[in-house]
Symmetry: C2
Subunit: 204 residues, 2 copies
């Protein structure tokens, strides 16, 4: 697949992937575009169009073959290409992400979690020991990690981002409600919860 897939399509494909995983758990072999469309309250034709972007061979007269469609999505979206990340901030949000469960299915491997709170360092979350943030630069270098998941309180977001940039982190998944100032060679993905909420509720 060399075709560039748009953000909206990637988003829908991961939702289809959730549905397919659920169907496999329930031992269901076939799925129709209509079933997917109904679960997501979207149009049938949209689902077919999205699936046509995949190199999906698993289509039969009675629907898509669940297992093969799942594999097609994984191949197209690069789930098998493992991306290593670390979490900064062992508060509730960092802990929730560390425990989120199905990230590894999507190729995201969280290797470690860091904090600067002496009371937290040494404790364990989902099998990972919370490490001192000052160990981060060495650890990131050794493990070749270039993705950081930022979950510190908003007031420490920029100073922590500066620290991450100095530690040669190249991608910051920003869960803080802050716009970070970083050099052009660093990419930030703002997990903009309020933006999402406003999109959702704009018409209420």
């Amino acid at each position: 697949m060399d075709k560039k897939i748009s953000d909206k399509v990637i988003n829908r494909l991961t939702l289809y992937h959730c549905i397919l995983t659920d169907f496999i758990d329930k031992n269901i072999e076939y799925i129709s575009s209509k079933q997917i469309a109904e679960l997501l309250h979207i149009d049938d034709s949209q689902v077919r169009k999205d699936i046509n972007l995949l190199n999906n061979s698993g289509k039969s007269r009675i629907g898509y073959i669940v297992k093969e469609l799942k594999i097609s999505i994984e191949k197209t979206l690069g789930f098998k290409k493992t991306k290593k990340a670390l979490i900064i901030g062992a508060g509730n949000l960092g802990t929730a992400i560390a425990n989120y469960g199905n990230f590894t299915d999507y190729g995201l491997q969280i290797l470690s979690i860091f904090d600067n709170d002496k009371n937290k360092i040494g404790r364990t979350i989902n099998g990972m020991e919370i490490q001192d943030i000052y160990e981060l630069p060495t650890s990131a270098l050794k493990e070749e990690i270039d993705i950081a998941i930022l979950t510190v309180p908003a007031k420490y977001a920029q100073s922590t981002a500066d620290f991450l940039v100095n530690a040669h982190i190249k991608y910051i998944w920003n869960f803080t409600p802050t716009v970070l100032s970083v050099p052009n060679n660093v990419q930030v993905w703002n997990e903009n919860l309020m933006g999402n909420f406003l999109q959702f509720t704009y018409n209420i």
Copy 2:
């Protein structure tokens, strides 16, 4: 404003709003589209185009007036129209959301948090007492709440959604990695973390 604003624009406007809030904290009076564009690593002309969608009168020769631009965004996106919500699940994610801080600035008022764990019920998070989930239907009706923020473990997501539908909840902000099956009169916004991650890392 009757013009329909696209999801991408809403998302960017909330990020501009974050930047403006930060500028106000720093007592900076004016901001240029270039300054916003540089912080977000996007194009200058995009910022101007977005701002042109607002009824923004606060433009001077030396830039936009920070306070007025902030108010224009709030008016356009309806921040002042308070939306009442409740959280289901007092785990790490529910707790993180209850403590997130700046939601009220955006018109989201979280009134209560529910769980079914007897060990959690009665404890307090950010001034809210964790209530028994079986109190939810009465409470939602009394407080006229129709938005539920779902943060329960994935395996309980569908049964909890069924419960919410029966309690006449009309909007579910779904933080579980599950596609929920709900009637057509109920809207679900999937906070699809893995979809976002894959968009972010697609080109890594």
